[in-house]
Symmetry: C2
Subunit: 335 residues, 2 copies
DNA sequence: CTGTTAGCGCGTTCAC
DNA sequence: GTGAACGCGCTAACAG
C-alpha cells in the first residue's frame, strides 16, 4: 500500500456508485432530490451508502452550490445564563433544517465579534447576532454580505427579534405600587445593552404612571458580585424595593441584603428580569420573564426563511413579557 | 449583463491574477507560500488583491487541502450550567489557533449526537465530545475518522480529559466525618454519566474509609426540580447530610428542605458538585469544585496539538478537584 | 428516470 | 521564480 490518503479515506460518491452499479449523479440525487428517482433505487442506494459508511461531504457540496448549510451564531457571553436557552433553541431550529451552527463568543467586545464574523463569513449562509456590541455601521457592513438577523438590537432595515420588557416592567411597577411601595430603584446593567436602555426607560415611564419615585443605581456589570456590592447604595436611597437589570444581579442583591440583615421580602422587595433562575433562589425570585428561548427560536426560523425565500423584508418581531410573581415581593415595612 | 452570479459575485483568484498580469498559481502562492515568490511580486499581488476586495475562499481551500480549520464541540445540554464555562474556554483556545467551532447540542440523546457528528464530520478537522452519551463502539467509529478528544468519558485508546472527583469527594466525606456525621446519602444523577458513576464510587469508598453509613438516593435527572422532589426520600433514610451529583440538584435539595421546615445547615448539611453556582445560593453552597473551564481549555489544546503533530497518543489528562467549604455544612443536630 | 459532461475555487505536482 | 495542468467531492445542466 503506497499511500492511500492516510489510514482513513472516507468513502465518496463514486464508492457508493460502484458498489451500487450506478453513476455518481444517481447517488447524488438519491441524497438531494430523492423524488426524482425510483423509490426502490433510492432506498437501495441509501442502504448501500450507510453500509459502506458513506456520509455526504458538506464542504464539496458547498463549493458547487454556493450554499453552505451553515449559520453563525454570536453571543456576548455564553456564560451568562440568559444565553444558553436561546442558543439551545436556535440550535434546534437549525437542526430541523439540517443546518450546522458556528458558535462565537464575543466576550462583550465588538472587536472580537468583528473578528469572528470575518472568520465565519466565508462558510456560512447567514448571521444571527445576539445583543450585538457592534456599531450600527459595522452591523450594516456584515448584513450587506450575508443575510442577517438580530436579537435584542434595534437597527432599522435589518430583520430583528426584540424582547420587549415594556409590558413586564409595567406590570412589575403596578405590582409594587399595589403593594404600597412609594420609592423604588432600578439597578442598571451594561450601558451598551439595548435591553438595559429599554428597561430603564420602561421603569421611568411606569414610575410616572403610578406616581412612584425612582432612582437609578448603576451596577458596573451584570453579575452576582456587582449586585451584592451595590446594596449599600440601594439602601441609601431610602427605597423599599428594587428592580434589577437581570436575575443574576437581583440574586446578588438578595444576598447583599441578607449580609446586612435586611430580610427579603418583609423589609425589602426585589424583582429581577429574564427569569433564568426559575424558582431556584430562596425565597424564589419575582421576575419579569423574557423567554430567551422563544427569541432564539423565532430569530433562527426567521433567518432560515430569509435564506430560502431570498426575500429581505424589514421584519421586526416583538416578544412581549410578563411579570412572574414569586416570593421576593411584599408590602413595604412600616416606618 | 445577463446574469453575473447574483449582485455580489466575490472576486476569485483569477480576477486577481488578471488584474496583476500573472497566473492563478502565483496568486495562490502569494497567500500560502509567500517565501517561494519574489518579495515585490508578493506585495504587489497582495495589494491588488485587497483593492479588488479579494478574500481567499475558505471552503475551496478546504476541499483541496483536506484541512478545514474547523472543529466540532458537542455537549449534552448547553443549558446545564456546567457546560457554558467549558464551552467558553474551548472557544478561546480554538480562537487563538484561528479555528472556528461548530457547537452541537445532543439533548442527552446518543442518536442526536450521532446525527450531529455525521453532519459535522465533512467539514471539521477534529472532534471534541463532552460527556458523550455514545456507546464506546460508536465513539471509536467517529474517532477512526477524525482526531477526537473526550471530556469526562474514559475510553481506552482515545485522548481524554477527566475531571477526577475522587479527591474532592474524599475531602467532602472527611469534612462531614470531622463534623460528626455518621449517616449520609448520595443523591445520584444520570446513570449513563461517567461523572455520576465516578462520584458514586468515590462516595462509597470514602464512606468505608471514614466508617460512615451511606445510602444512595436516585434523582431521576439532574435538575433543580428533581432535587427538590427527592427530599422526603432523603430524610426517610435518617441521614444528617447529603452529597448531591451536582450543584443544581443540591440547590433543589436546599429548597426542598426549606419547604419541609428543615433548616440548612443547622439541621441538615448539603454538599454539591461542580461549583457552578459560585456563592450564589443562600446559604452559600459547600461544593466540590470541578473546574469545567480548565477541562475545556485542556481538551481543546490537546485536540489542536493532535491536529498539528498528527501524533495519536493515548493521552489521559486528569484534573483533580477539591472541596470548597461554604455555608451549607455544620455539625449534625443532637437527637 | 438515469448516465455524461462540465465546472465550483483553490492547492499542488510537474515542466519551463 | 513562474505558468499549465490535474484533482478534491459534489451539483448542475445537458442528453438519452
Amino acid at each position: 500500500m503506497i499511500q492511500g490518503k492516510g489510514q482513513n479515506a472516507r468513502p465518496t460518491m463514486v464508492d457508493v456508485a460502484n458498489a451500487a452499479g450506478v453513476s455518481k449523479s444517481t447517488v447524488s440525487r438519491a441524497f438531494s432530490q430523492p423524488e426524482m428517482l425510483g423509490t426502490e433505487t433510492v432506498s437501495r442506494i441509501l442502504e448501500i451508502a450507510s453500509s459502506i459508511g458513506y456520509v455526504p461531504n458538506h464542504t464539496a457540496r458547498a463549493l458547487s452550490t454556493g450554499r453552505y448549510g451553515n449559520v453563525a451564531l454570536v453571543v456576548p457571553d455564553v456564560t451568562n445564563p440568559f444565553f444558553p436557552p436561546l442558543i439551545r433553541a436556535a440550535q434546534m431550529s437549525a437542526d430541523l433544517a439540517d443546518y450546522c451552527v458556528f458558535l462565537g463568543n464575543s466576550d462583550e467586545s465588538w472587536r472580537q465579534e468583528d473578528k469572528l464574523l470575518d472568520r465565519f463569513v466565508g462558510q456560512v449562509d447567514g448571521l444571527l447576532l445576539v445583543a450585538s456590541r457592534l456599531s450600527e455601521e459595522r452591523i450594516h457592513g456584515h448584513a450587506a454580505r450575508k443575510p442577517t438577523v438580530l436579537i435584542n438590537r434595534d437597527v432599522r432595515g435589518i430583520p430583528r427579534v426584540l424582547i420587549d420588557s415594556g409590558q413586564g416592567v409595567q406590570e412589575a411597577i403596578a405590582h409594587l405600587a399595589a403593594l404600597g411601595h412609594k420609592r423604588i430603584v432600578y439597578v442598571s446593567g451594561p450601558s451598551t445593552s439595548w435591553s438595559n436602555q429599554q428597561r430603564r426607560n420602561a421603569v421611568r415611564q411606569g414610575a410616572r404612571d403610578f406616581h412612584l419615585h425612582v432612582d437609578i443605581v448603576a451596577a458596573r456589570v451584570a453579575s452576582y458580585e456587582s449586585g451584592r456590592a451595590v446594596v449599600p447604595t440601594i439602601l441609601a436611597t431610602g427605597a423599599s424595593a428594587a428592580i434589577a437589570f437581570d436575575d443574576v444581579t437581583a440574586h446578588g442583591i438578595m444576598t447583599g441584603m441578607a449580609d446586612l440583615g435586611v430580610s427579603v421580602p418583609s423589609s425589602f422587595s426585589v424583582i429581577g428580569c429574564d427569569d433564568v433562575l426559575g424558582a431556584a433562589t430562596y425565597p424564589s425570585l419575582t421576575t419579569v420573564s423574557t423567554r430567551s428561548d422563544e427569541a432564539g427560536h423565532a430569530a433562527m426560523s426567521l433567518l432560515l426563511d430569509l435564506l430560502n425565500s431570498r426575500s429581505v423584508g424589514d421584519a421586526r418581531i416583538t416578544l412581549d413579557t410578563h411579570l412572574v410573581v414569586r416570593g421576593t415581593t411584599s408590602a413595604p415595612p412600616r416606618r
